[in-house]
Amino acid sequence: MKDYKAKDFQALNKQLKKEAIYTCILYALFFIWWYATAYGFADAPQRVWGLPLWFFLSCIVGWLFCCVGVTLLVKCCFRDVDLDAYNIEEIPDTSEKAGDEL
């Protein structure tokens, strides 16, 4: 097999691992928000639109939190990558070739 820019591919893998970790962190933050507000405010007497405070914070604000969080995640932590730059030519796929010949 040819050497297909192995260095670049290793660097890409490092970046993707980082992105996966950031994603896990946001997921964990959402979980903490969800858990802490739902059970921490479970006995709070306040109501928002009639709904108990825990519900408002955990489910409604939590959803907005998630939307803002994922936007920041994508804009600040994620990089654009050329998905086709790392292809290997050597592995043939017979079922694929059939279609290309026509």
């Binding site: 992105e19 479970a42 009639g50 955990s58 994922v70 654009d80 998905l83 592995i91 694929e96």
Partner: protein, 484 residues
Amino acid sequence: MINIPAMVPVLCYLFILLGVSWYVGTLQKGRSFVTEYFLADRSLGGFVLGMTLIATFTSASSFLGGPGEAYSTGLSWVLLAMIQVPTGFFTLGILGKKFAVISRRINSVTVTDFLYQRYRSNAVVIGSSIAIIAFFIAMMVAQFKGGAVLFESLTGFSYEVGLIIFGLVVVFYTAIGGFRAVVLTDAIQAVVMVIATVTILISVLLKGGGSTALVDVIAAENPLMLDANATARPTILSYWVLVGIGLLGLPQNTVRAMSYKDTDSLHKAMIYGTVVVGFLMLGMHLAGFYAQGVLEDVPANSDAVIPMTVMQLLPGFWSGLFLAGPLAAIMSTVSSLLILASAAICKDLILHFHPRKSPSDSNIRAISIAATAVIGALTFLFALDPPNLIVWINLFAMGGLEAAFFWPTVLGLFWKRANATGALCSMIGGVGTYVAMGQLGINIMGINNVCFGLLAGLVCFIIGSLATKKPDKEVLLTFFGEEA
């Protein structure tokens, strides 16, 4: 009584879906057929990717069963439903790019394809194909059943007529248009689901005189409805695995990570998906909860809550508009499962074990379309009178798929030491533990058994991998760009 006005929006909608699929079918000529038919030529944009991902995991239960539970249990069940909100970005954020790059690198079209390239084992191919075919057919039958029951209750036509109308439509458009038709119709279905959710939420709120008034009525009747602890905490926490982290492993989700065009699409899909799925989950489950203060009659079971609410509040045409929502949820789930089941037979079993040296394009085309149509027809027949075996498999379908695919997929991408023995042990050990616990009726503290299935799968994976030799140098180079 047959409700004719309700049929108008439903039929219009079904015709639009067929039209899209027919149009897509005409685009297929002159391209690499397998990649086009099973992966839409890796061309999905951000909106379509986001919508197809959430439409696939928004199923009958998000529109019927879930809101029905919220009706009887209260806000704690809405809390549970919200666990699904970050799932879309979680899946795409962790697997999205890696899968896209690798699947282009090795030219894989299906998840099984990917697993084969990673583990180089025919046993893994057979195991994953069987898991996909068996669990997917059972899940499709359950979805069809839910749809036909709903159709019956809202339009007055019989179960069989409903099944024939929307069941044949979904089989037909999937067979003709392939994955591209599936994802484009998914995007349309997601929009329809949003419209349906807005419709029912507004009509419930109007009927009850606003949120505050409704909650007061419900709380006066049963204060537990507002209690966060009304659903046991171990149960609710285990849903973080079943409908949260575990979804990372589902082939119907991961295959979408192979199908998009560029990283900008992926980034947009993560945002759109999170916004829309949050709205659907919150809206539908809240509607179910509010229905407690509005419904005049007591529903027979939780699945009947939403249909009864619709019948009581929405006149003919509008009830049809709502009906399109859950039908969309069902059809989008079925079409996604159907195309993958077909890929499992065609690409993973037939073409994998009998690679065509120089087959004509029409040959592969015929096999693919025929496989989709046959599985679809089979599922349709099963749904007319579900056999016990199918009902039994469906009990384990969701958790079983997670137990089978989670570790082989995730560890295959991120753990260099992972090998075929580990993957096989994980599939067998995970699914085995999960099914055995369910069969024996073992339940520990209300925790969903899928947690134990995944735990067993992880242990089996690590032991199996470490006990046998490292993956080949070539595999490591392909997947990680390095040997050690």
